[in-house]
């Protein structure tokens, strides 16, 4: 199979208006992926499926990722000349920036006919609140049907073009998306035999009030 860089270059040649980025995975798995332009995703997906050299005809897995807003501190080292005439001082300049949050859908593709893979695709939404629509790839790979529904249910990505976008694990009346990082589960921590961490903090609210201190015990010293 071609390398991911070659696939990216071919995609850029074929779809000049699209933006395709290589996202590297620094871990030992080194499973790199292609970040696609959401607008061109269905066309690119159809190309990857039908291209004779790739034939990625099997979508084995679709998963969701929640990237909350994150504050990142950039550190830049600068050498400042010492006015007293000594050696230059190295000063660290720290700048803080906010990395905006987004929701992500990750597709793992294999080829059954050519026996290769995986190729990992990523699609990202504009933000986590109002621009959460992504194009559905279910028309390209039927296998994505239930898994896109699951992502819609648990992360709240709306897949436009999906044939039957309903909740699949939670009930229909459920509000909110429980796999998001900022989801707060309902307060039913009234009985926790061995609480710890966050659960302990929330269980404390249910502890009975300590009995009012009776007559303060006087010091036993005469």
């Amino acid at each position: 199979m071609e390398t991911l860089e070659q696939i990216r270059d071919r995609l850029l040649a074929r779809f000049p208006a699209a933006k395709v980025e290589l996202v590297t995975n620094p871990g030992t798995a080194a499973e790199h992926s292609l970040l696609l332009d959401a607008v061109f995703a269905p066309e690119i997906a159809r190309f990857l499926r039908d291209d004779p050299a790739l034939r990625l005809d099997y979508c084995s897995n679709v998963s969701g990722v929640d990237w909350p807003e994150k504050e990142i501190t950039d550190t830049v080292k600068k050498s400042v000349p010492d006015p007293a005439g000594g050696p230059d001082k190295v000063v660290e300049e720290k700048t803080k920036r906010i990395q905006p949050g987004c929701l992500e859908a990750v597709y793992h593709l294999y080829s059954m006919t050519l026996k290769h893979g995986p190729v990992v695709l990523r699609l990202r939404t504009g933000n986590r609140t109002d621009q959460v629509t992504l194009p559905s790839l279910t028309p390209v790979w039927r296998a994505a049907d239930f898994q896109e529904r699951e992502i819609f249910d648990l992360y709240g990505i709306i897949f436009s073009g999906h044939p039957d976008l309903r909740r699949i694990l939670m009930w229909d009346e459920f509000k909110d998306h429980p796999m998001r990082k900022d989801y707060v589960s309902p307060d039913d921590f009234e009985w926790e035999p061995t609480p710890h961490g966050d659960v302990h903090e929330r269980a404390k609210a249910h502890y009975p009030a300590p009995p009012p201190a009776a007559t303060p015990t006087p010091e036993a010293k005469p």
């Binding site: 009930w171 009346e173 459920f174 589960s185 009234e190 009985w191 249910h206 502890y207």
Partner: protein, 222 residues
């Protein structure tokens, strides 16, 4: 009746007037079997418990194993798993009860005719188990239906289920037809059906049946 049940609060049946158990045994050695209709009734009921055939999670696999030839639940007369709640005496809640599933479990319980019994099998059915803090996990089925026997384990082995079943048999044999020790279903003021919870925005409404479940008070320092 040579077996001596060990259930606390069990008192031997008055077989015939003021005859003692020793005298009964003595007569039995001479080929005279004395019993009462009440005792015979309990003996018959306890040896033909028909469970409802349904499983919720991995504990159901152990329940199936208990029904196979190796463990053979038929030795205790409980091998007739009924596919309809109308024909079942025993509900074995085997596995994690999700909040989405809980109303259906309560509805099945309501559809079972009296006398009926419930076994909570495994850590999840008892308390939510390892998934207790999950956003979709009910923290114990005893929040909505009355449980007769709790079988701990994750999952309990088939032997544990059989032990739970024999404990239930002893409980059934100890039940009287009338009087203060009468079986639960023969007392006029006990409920047979329980309200089915509704799906709320984040949790079931109500999250537990207050007539059945009150959280234990934990006197703990805040």
């Amino acid at each position: 009746m040579s077996d001596t049940p060990t259930t606390p609060g069990y008192t031997p049946f008055p077989a015939a007037g003021n005859i003692s158990d020793a005298e009964r045994e003595d007569l039995r050695r001479h080929g005279i079997l004395l019993t009462s209709l009440e005792e015979l009734y309990g003996w018959g009921r306890s040896n033909s418990i028909w469970p409802l055939q349904f499983g919720l999670a991995c504990c159901a696999i152990e329940m199936i194993a208990a029904a196979t030839a190796r463990f053979d639940i038929a030795r205790f007369g409980a091998e007739i798993f009924r596919p309809s709640p109308r024909q079942a005496d025993l509900m074995i809640v085997s596995g994690t009860v999700t909040k989405k599933m809980a109303p259906q479990v309560v509805r099945l319980w309501n559809q079972m005719p009296e006398p009926k019994y419930c076994i909570a099998m495994g850590a999840c059915a008892i308390s939510g188990g390892p998934f207790k803090q999950g956003y979709n996990v009910l923290k114990g089925i005893d929040r909505f239906i009355p449980v007769d026997i709790y079988i701990p384990g994750c999952p309990p082995r088939p032997e544990a289920l059989l032990h739970g079943l024999t404990q239930l048999q002893e409980k059934i044999r100890a039940e009287r037809v009338s009087g203060p020790q009468a079986a639960r279903h023969l007392q006029p003021d006990t409920a047979s059906e329980f309200p089915v919870p509704d799906y709320g925005a984040h949790d079931l409404q109500p999250p537990s049946n207050p007539k059945l479940f009150t959280a234990p008070v934990l006197p703990r320092k805040a």
